[in-house]
Amino acid sequence: MVTIQKEYLNALPKKVIDDLKKELPKDISEKKLQKILDECVATYESMKVDPGESVGLVSAESIGEPGTQMTLNTFHFAGVAEMNVTTGLPRIIEILDGRKEISTPMMDIYLAEPYSKGEDIKKIALQIKETKLKDVASEIFINIADSAIEITLDRSAMKAAGITDAHITKALSGAKAVAAKLSGDALNVKAKSKDLSINDLYKLKEKVRVVHLSGVKGISQVLPVKRDDEYIIITAGSNLMDVLGLPYVNPKKTVTNNIHEVSEVLGIEAARQATINEVFKVIESQGLNVDIRHIMLVVDTMTASGEIKGITRYGVVSEKASVLARASFETPIKHVLNAALIGERDELASVVENVMLNQPIPAGTGLPQLMVKAQGK
């Protein structure tokens, strides 16, 4: 292993240093090494983006052009049976818009040893899946005369989901407005206030139907699969906070495709990484070839404010300093009117507003300005 002087460690990226260490022969002379490193630094510096280069424009074209070939199909099967996953253009739009509600939230739950080897995986999958009262009921109907809700329990469904009578009575005893009585398979839920209108009774029934019995809230489907050498659980529905707290989960590798959830639980930097991963996954799955640097640039813009902002008129565009730049994107009248009302100033410091006014733009060769250093008296 060659040792590289400290001054070069800061001048070159880690990957280049690592490659050099691997490729250079061990007995290289000091002089030769110096020469190679100088050459590397010179090449690296010449490869850097020039000041004033319109990197955003290049990114937009580089993502947009292959994007035209992306499938317009909203849903398709991503290799896993029985699970719909949004991919293609709709997914890209969803991510870059920074939507809070995504159409198919999913998690990849990695398990701790020894469960990752497949031990008890079915049992764990069932424990994670959320079971609601309606899932273990074969019949729910309203008894108007007694203003009560009568539920017939499905014993086989209960057994499959690992639900006992105690689970049900405990879940219902938490609710203040109702009194539940269980006898055999029949569950009788009665409202405590005597005279409920039929409308209220119907609302009550809808509430009782979705009473949480067991599992992690929000996880509607579970699917154990083998990925590489490990058994993991893919879920429909997402709840990163609660799943990371489970004892049999490997919290270091478990991820969700809901970037806002990642931002909340792990912070903005993790959300940035998750967003890049999600966008790149879609582009890769479509067989397209977009350099990851373009995606990194877009996502850095989205996360620069400390929270995820979509590329929309409510997101990053609303942060622009220039009125004219904002007006040139969407809803121009709103922006121009508001600016007029509060007397906003436009410094004409950026590109779009100068294009609108037919002036040289501060990008590329238009960026450098003449500065005169005053000297003497």
Partner: protein
């Protein structure tokens, strides 16, 4: 909750966060020739810096794993929400 916080520090999505000292802070701002408010931002209640006791005005150094450069350094200024 308390246990969770220590666990998530090693999550694969989460890069290392370091709070800069005043001296390092000055060096960073001087190197880029900018003011603190011109840095990208991180909220003071961000989950990743919960244990760093960061106040608005601090700078957080983030050591990212990069697919192109191997490792890159990024800075964010701490702000109020």
């Amino acid at each position: 909750m308390a246990k969770q916080k220590s666990v998530i520090k090693e999550h694969i999505l989460l890069p290392e966060h370091v709070k800069l000292t005043d001296k390092e802070k000055e060096a960073v701002l001087k190197h880029y020739g900018i003011a603190q408010r011109q840095l990208p931002k991180i909220f003071k209640n961000d989950a990743a810096i919960a244990e760093l006791d960061a106040k608005p005005g601090d700078i957080i150094k983030i050591i990212r794993n990069s697919p192109t450069a191997g490792q890159t350094i990024f800075y964010r200024g701490v702000t109020d929400v």
